[in-house]
């Protein structure tokens, strides 16, 4: 089960991104409702975005429809992930105007990826793509990332548009991801 985190500046430039593979057992992901009715070879295109895009052969597709964890051999298609994250920004902007919470729960859903967002008072957006539900863990994770971000921001040389390249920040975020996700 993997998670993708993006920190976006107020002008929507990505300042930091992280991919985290969780070692926690995946909760049973619900099979898409189509899967039961349609033949396996057609629904697998919807059930697994990544396998469909990486052009998996029909032999392997049969495994994935069962709803177990999707094991992708080799790298995932990063462009799709980024596209999903970008597409969710529209929804985030809409919710931000109406809701005065910082932690916006899940704002968007795309096949098996859910997008959760957290907006800081300084209008920085933290976007997390994940597969399974984990509201409490994600909330604590965002909280810790927020704290790390505030500390980063206190650096007088850091503006709202500087990419965050500190290895300490990276290590802390990874540790926090391992703890909560």
């Amino acid at each position: 089960m993997s998670h993708h985190l993006y920190l976006l500046s107020p002008s929507d430039t990505p300042l930091y991104s992280l991919t985290h593979y969780s070692s926690k057992p995946a909760q049973t992901t619900t099979t898409s409702p189509l899967a039961s009715n349609l033949p396996s070879w057609s629904t697998s295109a919807f059930a697994g975005t990544l396998t469909a895009l990486s052009g998996a052969t029909s032999a392997t597709q049969a495994h994935h429809v069962q709803g177990g964890t999707v094991r992708i051999g080799g790298g995932q298609d990063r462009h799709v992930i980024q596209m999903i994250a970008n597409a969710s920004l529209d929804v985030v902007e809409e919710v931000v105007r109406k809701d005065n919470m910082m932690y916006l729960k899940s704002v968007d859903k795309f096949n098996e990826w859910t997008v959760s967002a957290f907006v800081t008072p300084g209008n920085m957006k933290f976007v997390l793509l994940h597969e399974a539900r984990n509201d409490d863990g994600i909330k604590s994770f965002f909280h810790e990332v927020w704290e790390l971000y505030v500390k980063t921001m206190l650096n007088p040389f850091h503006t709202a548009h500087t990419p965050i390249r500190s290895p300490v920040f990276d290590a802390r975020v990874r540790a926090s991801a391992k703890k909560y996700l």
Binding site: N100, P121, G122, E147, K151, T152, L154, V168, A171, S176
Partner: protein, 242 residues
């Protein structure tokens, strides 16, 4: 620096104005609470080879007793800032604009840090999305975080619907500045105006913020921070009101 006689007010210990401290965390041990402080470092093992240096991520964000700065130290720094700017500009407007920019950089950090200190403990941290509550929070919380007490008055202009004013009877940062008569229009509180502008920008209410001297007989240092909101904010507020 920590001697009792100095009058102090709590300037944010980690504000951008004190840039030298951040460049060398080891050298700042005289001012900030250091190695013995409880660090928020939870799990990350120190995989650095040599003695692990204290990074900014190890210092706690909450205010500690040792984090206050004496007013005279800040006055010294501020006077340097004004002199530095004065050498490089030609005109009062430009000077005010530069001080505004310096204040903007502080304000960005004030906003995040203040929100963190106020909301981190809460179950569901909140942000302000309507203008009037945001303005009230600036009036009390920002002023309290930066100067130690809420601002003195807050007013809405009757002539223009998009102007608001925050009034401070004796701004601490200009207390020790005497302005020559030919520059009487200058208000070094443009620095404070910059802080307010950054806070409003961060919250999503772009505005033009300026500072003006409005002395009265009893209060010769009285300063007004004038906030002129952009049209988009007014329209949005109208739409949200219904």
């Amino acid at each position: 620096m920590h001697a009792a006689p100095h009058p102090r007010f709590s300037v944010l210990s980690a504000s951008a104005a004190q840039s030298s401290e951040h460049l060398s965390p080891a050298a700042s041990s005289t001012r900030f609470s250091l190695p013995s402080a409880p660090s928020i470092n939870t799990t990350a093992p120190a995989s650095k080879p040599a003695p692990p240096r204290q990074t900014i991520y190890d210092r706690p964000l909450n205010k500690t007793r040792a984090a206050e700065v004496s007013a005279s130290a800040f006055a010294f720094l501020f006077s340097e800032m004004v002199q530095y700017t004065q050498k490089r500009v030609n005109g009062i407007n430009d000077l005010e604009r530069r001080l505004n920019t310096l204040g903007y950089r502080v304000g960005m950090r004030v906003l995040e840090l203040m929100s963190w200190r106020n909301e981190a403990a809460a179950k569901a941290p909140k942000r302000e999305i309507r203008f009037l509550p945001a303005l009230m929070s600036i009036h009390t919380q920002v002023w309290r975080a930066v100067f130690g007490k809420p601002a003195d008055a807050i007013e809405k202009s009757v002539e223009n619907a998009d102007e608001y004013m925050i009034i401070d009877n004796d701004p601490p940062i200009t207390r020790n500045i005497s302005v020559p008569r030919d520059m009487s229009q200058l208000s070094c509180s443009s620095f404070t105006a910059g802080i307010v502008e950054a806070v409003l920008d961060g919250l999503g209410f772009p505005a033009r913020v300026t500072a003006h001297n409005t002395p009265t007989d009893q209060l010769p240092n009285r300063t007004t921070i004038l906030i002129k909101l952009e049209k988009s904010v007014i329209d949005r507020e109208e739409a949200l009101k219904t």
